[in-house]
Symmetry: C2
Subunit: 320 residues, 2 copies
């Protein structure tokens, strides 16, 4: 495939100017002592609306012509992308319609509504929500933004790593969690063009190891279940992001549910920051595979911090 | 009284060079929208060992002559100061003995032990622990560092605000929680010498309003109870810090237990950082008294982030 060019990535960053935060990088002496690596955490949990998804959503929205947006935009998501599109649309004074499964947690529905988006409920299966989106598009004709399998979303996401490699030069590795593949593709592109000696590695829950199997087989593999606490990583790769991933990413590190929980708790307690389970997947990978990272300069993307505190504490309490 | 000089404060900062972190300042658009103020949060929860106490403890320790430290140092504390002295002593290769009440939470005892300090248990009353300290000093002759009523501790604490007023110029107010008075005195001194137009305001739980009453009466008043979730603020002012506070601080804002909890939860959920209840007292003060801060540039010292996650979640769950 022909990769998006360096100019494409630079342009995405220019379009995002002023729409998203330049997030800080934190370090932890204790984490470095524990792993033997020099680890740098890119804090997208401090991003607007609490996750890197704001980058992809804002960029995708910014690239439409105004007359395409007369009837607003539409997406489907029960998670951070729903909030990201809602907030980006609000900032641009554009209407947003979000298709959410009926079983979405009330706290997420409220957050999306809080940003002023209109919510349309669908059935709970992926097919249900795609059908509902198609119905709406047929009726209103507004453009659809896919949460991960959309080139402008991927280019927007790449800006996190464009910043990261400026903030910390000479990273040996960058570890990003993989779910739908939109962050991983953007991360790999940014490293490829701006920090060519940095290897991008994916981290994935064992329970939804579709990316691991896809990279092995060379085809997009599906998950049988979505049974992981890393709720942002339950989706499958797509035909736009997978070719990029296939070309640039060669390793996926798998971690268990217990390792995800332990890593999340460690970061909360020791680094004093709130990260969501999907972010903890990348942290857990450094801990579990620390022998691979000894003495290396390792970047970890903390993708977001949107959690239901009560639910998280129940998890941490139960599994201890 | 004769205040410590500007040179005293500058010297304290020089002594601390390399021993403590220069902590970041965070902002939150949502918090500003909610309060109408421009609020800057000085993140001492990201300080070494998780609280500003590291500054005072490290400075006090650094100012002893080596031959005074042959038998180590001693302090009494069931909280952050115990950990701070333990870690500072470890970094200086000095022995530390910490007198802790028998009813100290296991998690805190473990943390102090984790930094390599020796723990001596005492009875649970303030008198019990002072007696135990005096016994130990009599036997071994090591110097004692009081957690808040010690000039070098106060000067060490002042460095947080010395940094803060460089990071954010033109603050109208700085709000610091008050317990034993060591942070408040240091904050007031730093503002006095380095940002003379900045007014320092104290924040205190209604349930332990001794500082509020002390500033009104001009004498050190005591608390009848220690019934607050802000466990770092249960102590009384001392004869070294009170004269400084009396001269430089004229306002104490009181907040309820529910307001402390709500503020803590807000910061966790929206700012994605872990703060302890004592820190939330200052945040709660800005929220409750927001009419006083409208349009103003307000600095808030987030004093620490050492919490028992399970206990906190129980609190947040119960009181909702």
């Amino acid at each position: 495939m022909t990769l998006p060019t360096k100019a494409d990535l630079i342009k995405a960053r220019m379009w995002l100017e002023g729409m998203v935060h330049h997030t800080p990088v934190l370090t932890s002496t204790t984490f470095d002592d524990m792993t033997g690596a020099h680890v740098f955490f890119k804090c997208e949990n401090f991003q607007r609306m609490g996750a890197y998804k704001m980058r992809g959503a804002s960029h995708a929205l910014a690239r439409f012509h105004l007359d395409e947006l007369e009837n607003g935009v539409i997406t489907h998501s029960s998670g951070n992308f729903a909030q990201a599109v809602a907030l980006a649309a609000k900032m641009k004074h554009v209407k947003a319609k979000i298709v959410m499964p009926e079983n979405s947690p009330a706290v997420k529905v409220d957050a999306v509504r809080g940003y002023g988006a209109e919510i349309v409920f669908s059935g709970n299966s992926p097919v249900d929500r795609e059908n509902k989106v198609n119905e709406e598009i047929k009726a209103k004709g507004m453009p659809f933004i896919h949460p991960s399998n959309n080139l402008n979303v991927i280019l927007g996401n790449s800006t996190a790593t464009q910043e990261f490699v400026e903030q910390v030069t000479g990273l040996d590795y960058i570890i990003a969690p993989v779910g739908g593949g939109g962050l991983l593709a953007g991360t790999a592109l940014a490293a490829h063009w701006f920090s060519a000696l940095t290897e991008v590695i994916a981290a994935e829950p064992e329970n939804v190891d579709d990316a691991y199997r896809s990279i092995q087989s060379g085809h997009i593999e599906k998950n049988e279940t979505s049974d992981t606490i890393a709720d942002g990583l339950r989706t499958n790769l797509g035909d736009i992001n997978f070719p990029i991933i296939k070309e640039l990413v060669h390793k996926v590190l798998l971690v268990s549910e217990q390792e995800i929980l332990d890593a999340m708790k460690w970061v909360w307690e020791r680094m004093k920051i709130i990260i969501e389970p999907s972010s903890a997947v990348a942290v857990a990978a450094v801990i579990r595979y620390k022998d691979q990272f000894k003495g290396k300069k390792v970047g970890v993307i903390l993708t977001g911090g949107n959690v239901d505190l009560k639910e998280m504490m129940k998890l941490m309490g139960e599994k201890e």
